[in-house]
Symmetry: C2
Subunit: 199 residues, 2 copies
DNA sequence: TGGTTTGCCGACCATTCTGGTCGGTCACCG
DNA sequence: CGGTGACCGACCAGAATGGTCGGCAAACCA
């Protein structure tokens, strides 16, 4: 206690740093970049986190905390449109508060392999698909698309001070992308695939 | 002429380079990075494009060509669901062939300000909204979300050799995100959202 | 009041990375 | 055989990198 201010500052730093790490990866994000992003000098930033690696570790830890919170809040809702809706809504809410950290969380899934610098495990997928191996391809595509939209939109909203104004639209967009829009308890019969192009 | 091979190689280089430039920006993408991505030595790459700036210029030029092609193919279809469908379809098709270049094209719109290194004009928005100033916010959010999904999904598909298998799903996802969902001339109006309860 | 702590900075340093050059090798072509 | 073009390793000068150090001003505490 007695140090709420310090903590607040640090959290701001962490989120901005996370945004940079998410887009550029650890190696391509310099301490100077982060310092600029948070409005400190390099030395000033290194006063909060003595080392780039320490900073990164703190960022990852914070992101993991966030992920755990989401997973926790989701409980063990059975898979289905209702779970999808709740999941998207809580994820958007979390992301609107910490867009950078969520972007970092989603980065490995989103840019799956664009360059092999995946910062964190690909657990996020599991929120929407139980087993990425057996899930129908369409579901995978849609989850990925929804994540992409979620990450980009929350970041944009945050950075333009539109978080409250855009919330419902972001949720709607992600939900539609996910495809769980239509009637509750739909007959989830995935159309038979014309092309069994599997690996 | 007589150099179709050279051209083919160069195009491969351009697309991969574009992908890197899109994610990291010009400054944070080294010649070595591009060389690695295309499987050449730095000197070998600089044999194709004598300078980093020349390479970048070539990339941008190619991207612009692509953009022009899309705009052209779209003609002057009146705004509306039909135009949306056609636009998404042609964009996806182009993007499946050149995911990196399209990502670069979309980059300024997508990471609008994450870091102010916008490589190309934000023209792409105009494909779906006539005037970003007067357009309803929901439309903007949805277009942005659709773009994000488009860029990420085509990149992923290309990089996993699923371009043909995923095409229809990508189109569907983007279309749903856009909100102009239903099949040709469907009456299925965007169903009104029930009160989004808080979590 | 004065002493101490805290948050932050400019200047600096050794090391790495950068864009780019140069000379050379190898395959192909006439 | 002598080009020619694609490609590479080694190299270079300058820039960027992570990190240190001494200092300064404001807040805190006595």
């Amino acid at each position: 206690m007695a140090r709420p201010f310090r903590q607040q500052v640090d959290e701001g730093i962490l989120d901005r740093a996370a945004a940079l790490f998410a887009r550029r990866g650890f190696a391509k994000t310099s301490v100077q970049d982060v310092a600029d992003a948070v409005g400190l000098s390099k030395a000033g930033l290194l006063h909060h986190f003595p080392t780039k690696d320490v900073l990164y570790a703190a960022v990852v830890a914070q992101a993991d905390t966030l992920a755990a919170r989401v997973l926790d809040q989701l409980g063990d809702l059975p898979a289905g449109p209702e779970r999808d809706r709740r999941a998207v809504e809580t994820m958007v809410d979390v992301a609107l508060g910490h867009p950078g950290l969520v972007a970092l969380l989603l980065a490995p899934a989103i840019q799956s392999g664009v360059d092999p610098a995946a910062p964190i495990a690909d657990g996020p997928l599991r929120v929407f698909v139980e087993d990425p191996e057996t899930a129908p391809p369409e579901r995978l595509v849609r989850v990925l698309g929804a994540y992409a939209a979620l990450a980009v939109l929350t970041l944009a909203a945050h950075q333009q001070d539109r978080t409250t104004a855009w919330r419902r639209h972001i949720v709607a967009t992600c939900l539609d992308a996910l495809g769980s829009a239509e009637p509750t308890t739909a007959t989830v019969a995935p159309r038979p695939h014309p092309e069994p192009n599997e690996a």
